[in-house]
């Protein structure tokens, strides 16, 4: 909605003082000057690198010596590279493990905040502060909480005699640890976004539901959730893009070892960007790194489209019509 309005724009009016219009270049140069820094920087650090990365992905290059054209070899290797596929699998699993509980928790927190009158300011700050603190620092803190032998979490498990978990060594537990850190960081942010969405829903709708005899649960699933769809879409799309670009948490949690191994035991927490980083900047395979970058781009594009269609794509007038009673249950 907002985007369409923005693009429509508005037209500046002619000078009201009746002065004669200046010739084109004298009238427009200040505006072009004003917008030029962005376009200049984008050309040098955006367009050129992206174009250059296509070229680079068809090269074998260590960054120092001569670049050697090798045709489609990087891509051919990419398709058969089990480490690459493992990194895609890891990324998708971690993304799923973090996004699904996060969207659910964000909705619950937002709903609780919405119905609460007191301490609202305190809760908002408390839930938001993880999002603005350093990822590196907090990953180090949580990393020692998850530590296998002597971390706080395993100490607690030991205290209640329920066995220890290899949070930083077991393939699944490793992914859960990374997902938990992302949830911790982003749940409050998304809850605030959902809260803003909730507050935008007219209270008349809830009044009407009450008059019709809807209970809390019915109201939540039949009214709140459907009307929040645009917001849930925003949250889902941004978490998907963020999730597919995950790097810092697994890199800090499982430091690179002397052989250049990343992503912890068995590379079970190697994400796509971490793999790209390893190939390009640890092993100096610049051409291959560029090819991995394009694979990542493709993946993000595909997921954005899927997300869009799943959650919001089909009926755009979901807000405010209230005509889709039976249909919403099918989703």
């Amino acid at each position: 909605m907002g985007l369409a309005d923005a693009l429509r724009g508005r037209t500046a009016k002619p000078p009201p003082d009746g002065s004669r219009p200046l010739p084109g270049w004298r009238r427009y140069w200040p505006m072009y000057t004003a917008v030029s820094p962005f376009f200049l920087l984008f050309a040098v650090f955006g367009v050129f690198p992206v174009g250059f990365s296509i070229y680079l992905s068809f090269m074998s290059w260590d960054g120092i010596g001569e670049a050697r054209p090798i045709g489609w070899e990087n891509y051919a290797y990419l398709v058969t590279d089990s480490d690459f596929w493992q990194s895609i699998g890891n990324t998708l699993i971690i993304w799923f493990l973090s996004t699904v509980p996060m969207v659910f928790l964000a909705l619950v927190i937002a709903y609780a905040l919405h119905t609460t009158v007191r301490f609202k300011a305190f809760y908002r700050v408390a839930y938001f502060v993880p999002n603005v603190t350093s990822i590196v620092a907090m990953t180090l803190v949580l990393g020692s909480v998850f530590s296998d032998s002597s971390g706080l979490l395993n100490s607690a498990l030991r205290a209640i005699n329920s066995g220890e978990v290899g949070w930083l060594s077991d393939p699944w537990a490793m992914k859960i640890s990374v997902a938990a850190i992302t949830i911790w960081r982003w749940v409050g942010y998304n809850a605030i976004i959902c809260l803003a969405g909730l507050q935008a829903i007219s209270s008349d709708v809830f009044e009407a539901a009450k008059v019709d005899g809807a209970d809390n649960r019915q109201t939540f699933f039949r009214i709140t959730i459907p009307m929040l769809r645009p917001v849930i879409l925003f949250v889902a799309v941004t978490s998907t893009i963020g999730g597919l670009q995950l790097f810092t948490e697994p890199q800090v949690l499982f430091p690179v070892d002397d052989n250049g191994n990343v992503g912890g035991p068995g590379g079970e927490a190697t994400t796509i960007v971490l793999y790209l980083y390893q190939q390009a900047f640890i092993f100096n395979r610049f051409g291959y790194g560029a090819a991995v970058g394009w694979a990542l781009f493709l993946l993000i594009a595909v997921f954005s489209v899927i997300n869009w269609r799943l959650i919001g794509g089909r009926d755009e007038d979901a807000i405010g019509t209230g005509k889709r009673k039976g249909k919403s249950r099918a989703r």
Partner: protein, 278 residues
């Protein structure tokens, strides 16, 4: 009567959920302080020590011995403030032009700004590094500052803000007074846009302060890195002394929490409003 009880029990449940959640979100900050103020032995003993100790200064001093803390802090502060200043300057200029002036190609140019949102930074990571190497900027502050000096998010956000906040009459009045584009931007635009600029400024500052991947790649000189990279290096070298590593982490986080607590109300409200506009 029944409805009242139901409402009260719902409030209690709501508060219980919120309080539990808030405790979980805040706990790592408490634990960070506990770790930084105890010895590693105490923390990893069984049962572990759960309350703050008296070794904070000792651990912090070890951090100063381990890394060039103030040097890294200096690099981070200079990079974050420079980028913030440039972003506010360039983005507000562009946003002002896009929001309030008509010029040939305006719509196409604005479409391009929006389209650049879609390109993930990581796609261009390798060639960006190569570009910087050609320019001879690798390892220098320029590599941290220049590429991020103007961004699409800021232009889009400020443009939305400017359209709503700046009245056309104000601009017309200043034009009658003979002010050109840049003077109108300075005297009419900036004062009105101040709240929007404050949000964009804090947002940019946090982003640059916290960034890890980009400085990790371009600041190749181990003695000249940002705070985030320095703290991670500390962890790489002194893994056995976790308390000291966490003390370093704590020191790198305190400025951010301070800035956030001062501007939090404003910041959170704007962020939510920004998301709703998409």
């Amino acid at each position: 009567m029944r409805a009242e009880t139901a409402a009260r029990s719902r409030t209690i449940v709501g508060h219980a959920v919120l309080l539990l959640g808030a405790l979980i979100t805040i706990f790592p900050f408490y634990w960070m302080f506990v770790m930084a103020s105890n010895t590693t032995g105490d923390i990893f003993a069984y049962p572990p020590k759960l309350i703050p100790g008296s070794h904070l200064w000792e651990n912090m001093n070890k951090v100063f011995d381990g890394i060039d803390f103030w040097g890294s802090m200096g690099i981070t502060v200079v990079a974050a403030t420079s980028v913030t200043f440039l972003v506010l300057l360039f983005d507000s200029l562009a946003a002002f032009a896009f929001a309030k002036y008509d010029f040939p190609g305006r719509r196409v140019l604005f479409w391009i700004v929006l389209a650049t949102f879609m390109i993930p930074l990581q796609l261009a990571l390798v060639p960006q590094f190569v570009t910087l190497a050609w320019l001879g900027w690798v390892g220098s502050l320029k590599a941290l500052i220049i590429p991020g000096a103007a961004n699409a998010f800021g232009i889009f956000w400020m443009r939305q803000y400017a359209q709503g906040a700046i009245a056309d009459e104000l601009i017309q009045a200043s034009r009658v007074d003979g002010a050109g584009f840049f003077r109108q931007w300075w005297t009419v635009g900036l004062p009105v846009l101040r709240p929007g600029l404050a949000f964009l400024g804090i947002f940019t500052f946090f982003h640059i302060w916290n960034d890890y991947l980009w400085p990790l790649i371009v600041m190749t000189d181990p003695g000249k890195v940002t705070l985030q990279v320095a703290v991670q290096q500390l962890n790489g070298v002194y893994t056995t002394d976790q308390s000291m590593v966490i003390a370093g982490a704590l020191m790198s986080v305190i400025p951010l929490i301070g800035v956030f607590l001062i501007g939090s109300r404003h910041f959170i409200a704007n962020l939510a409003a920004g998301a709703m506009k998409f």
